[in-house]
Point group: C2
């Protein structure tokens, strides 16, 4: 069982070392459920691999602190290792350091100044429809009721407002099959994606300012597949692209943009999640900002603040990890940043 | 059981309708083995899904008649259907029409003027190391001893000499992983294959004349794969290319050529089979040419004549199918060409 009395830094390492790639979070979810279930001041619920724990002190305000348990695929970067102030390993930054801080708060603050709901959920790193928060919002919306939410995604200890939207689309090129020994009777669909890649390579990403925060878009291929057999000219090739868009665009406008970029090609959309405008003007958000300090900035990665926004819960991103390291093989987190983050959150819930 | 007394045209349709994609030839091989085993003038052997049947009449010459039982993947083109003189369906041209002619000869000519070895083998359409003829040449070389071989690959009823070689290579592009929301921290390997495709699109294929026959080369992508997850900038993308080369190049020279085309990229070779020069100057080949008639031409597709050449058995391609239709969804064979081919082969073995 996870020992929640240990230092937040060693707790982070312990959580990182429980591999939990999207879809395979069960072992970690079980450990989290058992550890929280042992705390008498919390009510613990479970849905799939998502664990929700709540105080019920009758406070005037309820805040929600959330983190996802899953990581991108391991890439020869487990188990974790410490070098000086840095803890290396898959999921250190995105976002097991944040999960560790939340678990410490759950264990260390039996009587917080606001009621607190802790949410540890699954499948954040993959298709939106498998996301644990989507499922809980649908099946147990009451569990997520709150006046304000802090999502502990990596922000380098800075409050990040809003988030960019994301969508995935398949760009299809068709051709005509033929035997590869007489290729001139066919039309090679793989060769046909050259202009798709040329448009991606030439693409100039926007960096718009929205509600005072600067965003940075991106349009990238994240997958390509084509080929029938080793001796057949392929008649189909699909480039899967991912568009990350600023919160001045709705999902519909973002789709239109992608259609325009790939004008002349067959485009089909497979997945999408809207952006969220920065929510920092809300009074509860302002209170959190005052407690934690620092200058808020724009959130570039899509995060579930957009899901909380859709539920009517204002939410910000705030966590000890460095967002620029997420999903990289060399991912790490600063141990002192984890301690700083724990202290700031502790102040907020106790002072 | 296959009825070998039926007309060669309906026999072809019956064989086409027994689906036998590479690696799944068992049902058809069983039917062929049972049908040949019922003929008292033949000795039948089996290795995996390859069936070999021989006469043993003590003739001065032994000829070998061969065909592969497998097809490329079915593409909504089974069962077969007849339209006028054409039989449509997967494998009609490449090469179940040739297999049907060989089976008819086995059944109809109990006392041929030359001893005959019939070879029906598996896995011709996929990697060389799985090819049934490779396996039999290694494990039962004696079964393939002959003075001359006719491989009944589709040639449109014309004798085709030699064959082009084939090799497959993986062209690897590497990059650097990053979260796709902050793509500028990564290097997108899928975007990086644009110049690989540009070289393929710009490629000018050679059409050299070798021993009097004109060949036609081709260099094509037959597969592409890249992508880690829907939100990760991919750090690796592989384009699999297939080079079909004329018999004036050895396998080593062909590999050098591919390395030159993709200079600056990491190229690794996964599969290769040498070309065979036209073998028509051999006396036994000349006898066959005289019997069948027509003007020999170059074989563009790689065929197992190269394997027979390696065993010291001169071999030609000759069959009723149209090679230009092989591996296409709309593949068909002319029923009257099957009958012509049966008659020519019958004359050769009986007159």
């Amino acid at each position: 069982m996870l020992d929640l009395t240990q230092d937040v830094r060693t707790l982070t390492a312990a959580i990182v070392d429980v591999e939990s790639v999207s879809g395979a979070e069960r072992v970690l979810a079980d450990e989290v459920e058992r550890a929280l279930g042992a705390l008498p001041h919390l009510t613990v619920d479970r849905s799939g691999e998502t664990v929700v724990a709540r105080t019920a002190l009758g406070r005037a305000e309820r805040v929600l602190i959330a983190g996802h348990l899953d990581t991108v695929p391991v890439h020869a970067n487990l188990p974790s290792r410490v070098e000086g102030d840095l803890l290396y390993g898959c999921g250190t930054s995105d976002m097991k350091a944040g999960v560790a801080v939340a678990l410490k708060l759950a264990a260390m603050v039996p009587e917080p100044n606001r009621d607190v709901t802790f949410v540890f959920y699954d499948c954040e790193e993959i298709e939106a429809e498998r996301n644990g928060l989507t499922r809980v919002a649908r099946d147990h919306a009451g569990w997520l009721a709150a006046d304000f939410a802090v999502l502990m995604e990596p922000t380098d200890g800075v409050i990040e407002g809003g988030c960019q939207g994301t969508l995935r689309a398949d760009v299809l090129v068709t051709g005509k099959r033929a035997h590869s020994a007489r290729s001139w009777f066919g039309v090679n669909a793989i060769h046909g994606i050259e202009p798709v890649l040329a448009r991606l390579n030439a693409y100039q990403a926007r960096q718009p300012v929205v509600d005072g925060l600067r965003y940075h878009e991106g349009l990238n291929a994240v997958g390509v597949r084509g080929g029938v057999a080793g001796n057949v000219i392929p008649d189909s090739c699909v480039v899967t692209v991912n568009y990350r868009f600023a919160p001045d665009l709705g999902l519909t406008e973002a789709r239109e943009h992608v259609r325009e970029v790939f004008d002349g090609f067959e485009v089909s959309f497979t997945d999408g999640a809207p952006a969220a405008r920065p929510g920092l003007t809300h009074p509860v958000a302002a209170a959190f900002t005052a407690a934690v300090g620092g200058e808020p900035r724009a959130k570039l990665g899509w995060t579930d603040v957009a899901r909380f926004a859709a539920l009517g819960v204002p939410a910000v991103n705030y966590g000890p990890g460095d967002p620029n390291l997420a999903h990289q093989q060399g991912e790490y987190v600063s141990l002192s940043k984890i301690v700083e983050s724990e202290r700031a959150m502790l102040d907020w819930l106790t002072k």
